[in-house]
Symmetry: C2
Subunit: 145 residues, 2 copies
DNA sequence: ATTATAGGTAAGTTATATTGACATATTATA
DNA sequence: TATAATATGTCAATATAACTTACCTATAAT
């Protein structure tokens, strides 16, 4: 019979609150840069994914973001206006559109990321390897449900 | 000189994506119950905090949520209509209003929480004590910047 | 008496998302 | 080859949650 403290409701509530705060703070540190380019959180997330997955297709972007295509298209249009993304048709299946950040886009991502990563970097630097590895492990388990 | 893999940009990007997904999934599992009561994510967060901090004041709620009072008041009005919160004036400083979930409110919270905590509970149950403790530790460090 | 704090409210706006319906091009398949 | 499925785009309307600016009352502290 498990009677671990951290499986009790109060601890779970506490953890859920922390997950919320961790997310909110991680995605608000870069607000000044976003304002500079008149974009928001939704744009930041798309730019982040484009930096991680160069040439990702629209449908894969949608699957990662879990938003509707109407919602994503609004954001993409803004990024086109900002002139920071480009598209390339798939050479085999021309229905598929691959999305890339151009040089300007990469620079803007770096500006955003420089601010955003500080919080995480500092937290990891201040932790042992084992702590970091375990943090990642549990986070993965939470994600995978 | 630190040369740890997990301090490299690619790993930080990966972690930031996971923090986003972890938050999103953790706060979407209970959507069906929220729909049942015609409330949303903002209400869920307030109810969660009211369950954690019984009798919390308005200003402390605002500080935890980091939203404007106009925004909070909209949510509180909905919760009043739903008849799930009550207020009590502070006995010493009558400017301060303490907010509580009533019995109906506590029941609705439990309905929400039952769905929401499953994901976390499962992840923790599937982890060692050390993993859980380290997850919490690093998360705290991320929060505290 | 003045200032600070706790809280409320009104009007207008913005950001991000939704649903539903429909359209086009391309690829896969019976 | 005809048909179905896939990938993407778009229009219109609506919802959710937040914001800014401004002003208000009541109470407490100095």
């Amino acid at each position: 019979m498990k009677e671990l403290l951290y499986l009790k409701d109060d601890q779970l509530k506490d953890l859920i609150e922390k997950i919320f705060i961790g997310y909110r703070e991680t995605f608000s540190d870069s607000k000044k840069i976003l304002d500079k380019y008149s974009i928001g959180l939704a744009h930041q997330k798309v730019i982040h994914l484009l930096s991680m997955y160069e040439g990702i297709s629209i449908s894969k972007l949608l699957a990662k973001l879990k938003v509707t295509k109407q919602s994503l298209n609004r954001v993409l249009k803004d990024l086109i206006k900002l002139e920071i993304i480009v598209f390339k048709k798939d050479e085999i299946d021309t229905r598929i559109k691959h999305v890339y950040l151009n040089e300007k886009g990469k620079k803007i991502f770096e500006e955003i990321f420089l601010l955003q990563k500080k919080r995480i970097y500092k937290a990891l630097l201040d932790s042992s390897s084992e702590e970091v590895i375990n943090f990642d492990k549990v986070l993965k388990k939470i994600i995978n449900g």
